[in-house]
Symmetry: C2
Subunit: 317 residues, 2 copies
């Protein structure tokens, strides 16, 4: 595959994604840039905006070299590669979509067709990082330690430590390959997950807004689901319950929604907690998920991700 | 990659493309079905409708086993894989686009986003067959002789025997890999090209209609370009000139076109011939391509494909 790259990629290339990247995007940006550079291509990692907490934890604690690019300097690049991204939405306006030459993603709903000149790879693995690791495995190129730990962290994070139903054998294989080449501290996964479970000194509203999905179902039913993926979920909910409920109540009115709730996922213990403020939403969740609210909260054993919850509840509208 | 397939592909799968497939599609359908079958997947080759002449030449002269599926039996399959295809246009109505699980293509303009559940691979090589051959090369699986010769023929045909500007190093590498494993007759390429150069007993109109591209430029300028890729172009043009000119004249009026012409490509000698019936088209081609018509015809040295001609002439409207 080496020839193919050098054949098609010319000029100064930015490997990038939507701004404010999470760990999967950061890992793909840094990892894929490294692979291309080692193939003699003038590729640059394009991290734009604020980096999510898990990625920051790795970058800062494991001495990974990284740099960010400004919105303004983006226009200095000749071509673009999008990783863990396949839509125009949210992309920097300085990226000319006709100059996007490659797309690597793992999400089902994509807008890949608008990128008329892009080579496209979309495969349904748990983490986009797995697709990048496979390219290293196939090419026989050695990865730097920083990229290894970032890509490993991305796979662990995206698959909820291999517990999510989106996990595939390929994710496990890629992570195994990396792990053999890493000397990880024993508590690595717990420490990374704790990094995104730290509510100290942060506004509850800001934290919730980081992971919200709003859906218009047939333009008739409108709902928003907030998700918290943390370690020590029970304590975090308890400490912040009042603020979360207040926020849900306020947002339901403000956005004129039919349903609104929070689903919390305990990354270590593998259970969910749901918070809801109105009887309509509570009744929907009780019917759809076979749970029983006590006041505004309920715990459910087993791990359910939001992307799995949405199709279940949609059948009950 | 073997695990990934067996993980995601379930049930009875049809590997298919738009009906009336050309040699690239036929080769991909038969070749990819074979690879999947060897991975234990219940995959079936889905050739629908009439097979183009080059593919028929190989199927009939080199004892390749093949079967066709009827429009009706398509609904008996659980999932679909599209090869050398990424659009809905022209697909059988019996293919539920939500059941398309994989797309392998090499064309820039695609509709891949409408296939919400499909893993997507779109890479700009000369022949889609190259992408299939690479999968065999990577997996270490042996190909049957029939698939080897079909895939080789597809790469030769799509790249005009490696002369077209769309040819990449990957096409050459894949073809080399196949050639080493084949005992081809010396005149194989010429015989295959002759198979599509045989006008004997055929209606000129039918032959021209097999390779026509009509374009609406900004909904203002409308033009149609017919293409003939043959061996012995000069003789074929001479023998059929009257019918071709009559057809162009008639079609220009019928379709209410601004421009219409035929571009002929000599597959062996590497030159073009253009036929046009009206002064407006002749003047456009003369300016854009630096040629000079003598009557209704002109010869131009060097090989120019229609996909290269279109952007050149569009600048002159």
């Amino acid at each position: 595959m080496l020839d193919s790259k050098s054949e098609s990629l010319k000029g100064k290339i930015l490997v990038t994604a939507q701004p404010n990247p999470d760990i999967d995007r950061v890992a793909c940006i840094i990892g894929y840039s490294e692979l291309l550079q080692k193939q003699g291509i003038d590729a640059h990692p394009g991290i734009v905006g604020n980096i999510h907490r898990e990625a920051l934890f790795i970058l800062e604690n494991f001495n990974v070299n990284y740099s960010k690019v400004s919105e303004k300097s983006i226009s200095g690049f000749d071509e673009f590669i999008l990783v863990d991204s396949s839509s125009r939405t949210g992309l920097s306006e300085n990226i000319d979509i006709n100059k996007v030459v490659e797309i690597i993603d793992h999400r089902k709903s994509n807008e890949a067709h608008v990128f008329k000149n892009a080579k496209i790879q979309i495969e349904f693995v748990g983490a986009a990082a797995t697709l990048i690791v496979e390219k290293f495995m196939e090419s026989g190129t050695e990865l730097s330690e920083g990229s290894r730990i970032l890509l490993y962290g991305a796979i662990v994070s995206n698959t909820l430590n291999f517990k999510s139903n989106t996990t595939t054998g390929r994710d496990k294989k890629a992570a195994e390959w990396l792990k053999k080449r890493l000397n990880l501290p024993k508590d690595f996964v717990r420490r990374m997950f704790l990094a995104k479970s730290d509510f100290e000194g942060k506004n509850v509203r800001d934290i919730l807004m980081q992971d919200c999905k709003s859906v218009d179902k047939d333009a008739k039913v409108r709902f928003s689901i907030f998700q918290l993926e943390v370690v020590d979920l029970e304590r975090i909910i308890k400490d912040n319950k009042k603020e979360i409920l207040g926020f849900l109540k306020e947002d339901k009115i403000k956005q004129n929604l039919d349903y609104i709730f929070l689903t919390g996922v305990d990354l270590e213990k593998g259970f969910n907690m749901f918070l809801a403020v109105d009887d309509k939403t509570k009744s929907l969740l009780e019917k759809a998920l076979g749970i029983k609210f006590s006041g505004n909260a309920v715990r459910r054993e087993g791990l359910l991700l939001r992307k799995e919850i949405i199709p279940i509840i949609e059948r009950y509208f």
